[in-house]
Amino acid sequence: MASDQQPLLEGHTVSKYFGGLAAVNNVDFAIYPGEIVGLIGPNGSGKTTLFDCLSRLQNIDSGKVFFKGRDVTRARPYQVARMGLTRTFQSVRVYRKMTVHRNMLISHQWRDTSILSMLQPSRASTAQRAYQLLDFLQIRHLADEEAGHLSGGQRRLLEIGMALMPDPDILLLDEATSGVNPTLIETIKDRIRTLNEQGKTFLLIEHNINFIADLCSRVYVLNYGEKLAEGTPQKILQNEAVIDAYFGA
């Protein structure tokens, strides 16, 4: 990506400690508009913790995070969400007792934050947008099902839909393919690509290396909370340190 551009999401020496243990240690990164960036690393390497820090569910102990040029190091989660950063979770968070369509509406509520509109039911246009997105994700036929009745893969799609509802600038997807059958993985991959062409930026935590290799332009590798390497997927997959971290003793 052109480096003269301003990064969309940027972190300087981001650190997060649990007790004395550094879950994320001095990580620098910059994600530019229109990129699809991968975040890989062995289990427990701090990927999800970094996501939590970026989406502000965890406090950042030191370092700074900028989103759209604004310092969001101390922002509340709902504030970064409203600025245009949405995410999915490793263990899917959907409202299992609500219908799929209702789930989509929930993620759009804040769009009208005036008191008057808060007192109204969701607008018809919002409902329409939810149906369109469900269509796009090929789960329209499930709109009136309770989310709890969906399969694992369908839930992942629904969660992506929920993250898309507010029309964000960047989506953080945490293991969007785990527990998903191969056909659906292809669907997810295809949808990500389409969305990226429409201008959405992605940051993906992923264990599925093929998925990363197919989609991402750049990859960051974390190990024990530290940035081990960064570069194109091809370069990363030949990097000795990375291979060591994954397969080494």
Binding site: S91, R96, M162
Partner: protein
């Protein structure tokens, strides 16, 4: 968690057996305009009731039931819809009662002239709401059982403080309010308050605000991450619930003409609210009012004559409902908006 392997608890299985899914359309109808229309019709009938030439006792009973329905609906807003099980909600009742007592007697603060009932009543509500803001800012950050215990602590601590602040509250001696008997006025006032509160709950339940509250109940972190300002939502819901509870407290003080710390800051009143909501169905619009009516008549039928026994029975009943009827009446009848107590509980306590 939102997902994971769907572990079915025995409660959920029991629910499947009991629930009557064919009633689901009825429930969704009642949650919509039909429900409100029927409610307004009922209010109209209740407003005409005194014209049938009833005794003042019947009017008194009516106003008592309206009080219970209002309290249950209010508690349901924070406990049932938002999922913050408040064990100290009676504290707002007590504050409303004391503000009423202090303002209309005037003496403790040397307020002169004393306030009239109609000025003091809104003040009771406002004071309770402000107190909710003050106490909610720290306590609503606590999760699950800790919130419940902290609110119970608030209640017991306020009872203590009311006893200590003798110059304002009369301490343990309490306050005597001017007795002005007006059963008909009481009836209509509480009918109006009840009508308003339940209509507001109905409105909230279908608004984006209410849906956000339910989202907070089901998954607070998820709600926050989807752009809902959870703190603001919780505080507002808490303040609304406290406001009307304070109004009821003020009214109760006026009607009872005597208050002291032990009759207004009392755990049993919280238990009553919790139980009526649970019995009817947590998180539904019509469940808590239904539960309140059932509890009132149950009390009247079973142990109305023996003073004090009903409080023992109240405690026992709470145990029985929690153990054997966690879904409430509406939940058992297949209302989807009803949160099973068991599910609400297992969500908040899931890390156990």
């Amino acid at each position: 968690m939102g997902t994971g392997p769907p572990v079915k608890t025995s409660e959920e299985k029991a629910k499947r057996k009991l629930s009557l899914p064919f009633l689901a359309p009825v429930h969704s109808l009642l949650a919509g305009w039909v429900g409100l229309t029927l409610w307004l019709l009922l209010l109209l009938l209740l407003a005409l009731y005194p014209y049938t030439g009833v005794s003042s006792v019947a009017l008194f009973v009516g106003s008592q039931i309206f009080v219970l329905v209002t309290l249950a609906s209010n508690w349901n807003l924070i406990g049932g819809m938002t999922g913050y099980v408040d064990f100290g909600h009676a504290v707002f009742f007590g504050i409303g009662a004391y503000i009423m007592g202090i303002l209309v007697t005037g003496s403790p603060l040397l307020i002169s002239p004393e306030w009239g009932f109609w000025q003091a009543l809104p003040a009771s509500g406002v004071a309770a709401a402000l107190f909710a803001l003050l106490i909610g800012l720290p306590t609503l950050r606590l999760k699950g059982p800790y919130f419940s215990i902290a609110m119970l602590g608030t209640l017991v601590a306020m009872r203590e403080i009311a006893r200590v602040l003798r110059p304002f509250t009369g301490g343990g001696v309490g306050l005597n309010l001017p007795p002005l008997l007006n059963r008909l006025g009481d009836y209509y006032l509480m009918l109006a308050v009840m009508g308003l509160v339940v209509s507001i709950i109905w409105w909230i339940q279908r608004s984006q605000f209410g849906q956000s509250l339910i989202a907070i109940r089901e998954d607070e972190i998820g709600a926050e991450m989807r752009g809902i300002n959870t703190t603001l939502h919780k505080i507002v819901a808490f303040m609304i619930a406290a406001f009307f509870t304070g109004i009821v407290g003020g009214f109760w003080a006026w009607q009872n003409t005597y208050i002291d710390p032990d009759v207004v800051f009392v755990e049993a009143r919280t238990v009553e609210m919790v139980m009526m909501s649970m019995l009817g169905g947590l998180g539904t619009v019509w469940g808590p009012p239904l539960g309140a009516v059932v509890i009132y008549f149950l009390q009247d039928l079973l142990w109305g004559s023996l003073f004090g026994v009903h409080l023992v029975a109240l405690g026992v009943l709470l145990v029985v409902i929690v153990l054997f009827m966690p879904e409430g009446i509406l939940g058992t009848l297949g209302d989807r908006s009803s949160t099973s107590l068991g599910r609400l509980l297992s969500r908040v306590g899931r890390s156990k």
